[in-house]
């Protein structure tokens, strides 16, 4: 077995690792020798527009956007598919019709669900 080719690869990997790590090591050494860490509460604050950070970054996000996602799928994406489906439906094989019907029925289920939830009512 020709090991020299692999030795070359190992040397290459070691050189690459050294190339990447030596600046980091130098920076670490520099900080250790000369430049002390100066951190504090204000410096480590999460917000950096000059205003005081709100008490915490842990806030609850409402996940109600999924309703818009469902309704967008029903009224926008589905209509794009419905027109070519209606045009080509006579010549489609049975399997394709079935697949398309499943897709439409899935979206109709979403519509029924949104309707039952009262999302469609204009307030």
């Amino acid at each position: 077995m020709n090991t020299e080719a692999y030795l070359f690869l190992a040397l290459f990997a070691a050189a690459a690792l050294g190339f990447a790590l030596s600046p980091l090591a130098l920076a670490w050494l520099w900080a250790k020798m000369f430049s002390p860490r100066k951190s504090g509460a204000v410096k480590n604050a999460i917000y950096e527009c000059g205003l005081a950070a709100e008490p915490t970054g842990w806030v609850q996000f409402k996940s109600e956007y999924y309703l818009y996602g469902i309704i967008f799928l029903i009224f926008d994406v589905e209509s794009i598919f419905l027109l070519p489906f209606a045009v080509a439906c006579k010549h489609l094989p049975f399997a394709a019709c079935l697949a398309m019907l499943i897709f439409v029925l899935l979206l109709v289920e979403g519509l029924a669900w949104a309707w039952a939830k009262g999302v469609l009512a204009w307030k």
Binding site: G40, G50, L51
Partner: protein, 197 residues
């Protein structure tokens, strides 16, 4: 054999330097200012960064939108008491080493609005200012002159010893107290006014 000075050697094409010299040379030629302006002085600062005056010639054209990446705070304009805590907080969030240029009469002392109830009487009440640039507003050339003065100051700084700059001294303060809004005025400790030399 006589010993040559570094200048003689440089003339012969041999460049010698010290770690300190290299460090300061790198720092003084890449002073990235924080991108913010407070009043009309900021317009002159913007002019200084454009093609006619071209602050890029001195390595200070990279205005950073985040204090985490900035080395230099150019306080360009009137600091109102409402704005002062934000300015101090931004300064505190900049990494060391950091420098401050007070640009214009307002940033130095309140300027023509000094008697206003809402105007801070100089940003050096709350953060240490390295270079004061007088003028109302100072022309872009004056800002460049102040930048060059700051570069000279950086070149003269030593890595070790009692006179070393604040960022290399572990005992020196890293953060300055942020003033708070009181009932009638800003509350909080202020720095002693700098001696004019």
């Amino acid at each position: 054999m006589k010993t040559d000075s570094p200048e003689d050697l440089a003339r012969q094409g041999v460049v010698l330097t010290t770690v300190e010299g290299l460090y300061n040379w790198g720092r003084k030629n890449s002073l990235w200012p924080l991108q913010f302006g407070l009043a009309c002085c900021a317009i002159e600062m913007i002019a200084a960064s454009m093609a006619r005056f071209d602050i890029a010639r001195f390595g200070a054209e990279v205005f950073r939108p985040s204090p985490r990446q900035a080395d230099l705070m150019i306080v360009s304009g009137t600091v109102t008491k409402k704005m002062a805590p934000q300015v101090v907080r931004l300064y505190n969030q900049m990494p060391e080493p950091k420098y401050v240029i007070a640009m214009g009469a307002c940033a130095i002392s309140g300027g023509p609005f000094r008697d206003g109830y809402n105007v801070l009487k100089g940003i050096d009440l709350y953060i240490p200012v390295d270079i004061y640039i007088p003028g109302c507003p100072p022309r872009p050339e004056a800002l460049l002159d102040g930048l060059i003065a700051l570069q000279k100051k950086i070149t003269a700084q030593h890595l070790t010893g009692p006179g070393r700059p604040r960022h290399l001294d572990s005992r020196a303060a890293g953060e300055f107290p942020v003033p708070e809004f009181g009932a009638h005025d800003l509350v909080g400790p202020t720095l002693p006014k700098a001696e004019v030399s």
